[in-house]
Symmetry: C2
Subunit: 127 residues, 2 copies
DNA sequence: CGGCATCCTACCCGATACTG
DNA sequence: CAGTATCGGGTAGGATGCCG
């Protein structure tokens, strides 16, 4: 496979989608947003993800320089995640993607409510 | 799983990433761009993809209303793919994603050269 | 030419249990 | 609290071959 018509692995779009194209990563980024968020908060809000997967995704996002993991050597332990500038730069792009999807599929519900649920103390009962 | 903290499947960002987050779809969209492109051309340019996968991705993109498949009942058969407006609307977003990646990883090479290779008759020998 | 059918592999994702 | 370790299923992606 010598003369690839394009260098797949060096295409920025491919790289970006590789870093972000997983099932949960965009959501994680959007949920963290401009806050410092503890692992437990993420796990509580995104309780559809297993903790292992959440950990995995967070680690990969950290490796890709999209977020920062701060570990406090306390008891009980505390870990806070926050976006890097690189991660923050994604938010407007994700917004566009949301708009794009919503434009062509008005059934979608926005994720912002989720983020609110994070930053508000409330939430739990649904009906 | 009653009270999901957010409706995963109705989050527009999730939907968008589901429709686009695969390994090749963004590339396909960017390669087709504003042209009508035949299957063979796509397969030739993106010869790192197996034809089966290429077909699969094209079908899914068609199902998601991102591109259109036109089949000409000729001999030899001819099939042309082109983006819908929904697909075209993605291009600027992908551009932003490219810029984002390139900004934080200048090693990336742009895909535009690829597209050129499609729309120019030339190309083949690399060295 | 532009597929589809078949088979196979890798890995993403998840459940569960255990640890500092 | 915030993980790791282990096991395993489902599916995206790929190689190959046949067909209208």
């Amino acid at each position: 496979m010598n003369r690839e018509k394009f260098a797949y692995s060096s295409c920025p779009l491919v790289k970006a989608m590789t870093a972000l194209g997983s099932k949960w990563k965009p959501i994680i980024v959007c949920v963290i947003r401009d806050k410092k968020v503890r692992f437990g908060q993420l796990a509580a809000i995104m309780d559809v993800i297993s903790r292992k997967v959440l950990t995995d995704q967070l680690r990969e996002l950290e490796a890709d320089g999209i977020l920062i993991r701060e570990e406090f050597k306390e008891l009980p332990p505390r870990v806070e995640y926050s976006l890097t500038q690189k991660g923050l730069d994604l938010l407007p792009i994700f917004s566009l993607l949301e708009e794009w999807e919503t434009k062509y599929d008005p059934q979608s519900e926005v994720i912002h409510s989720v983020v609110h649920s994070l930053h508000e103390p409330v939430l739990t009962e649904k009906d």
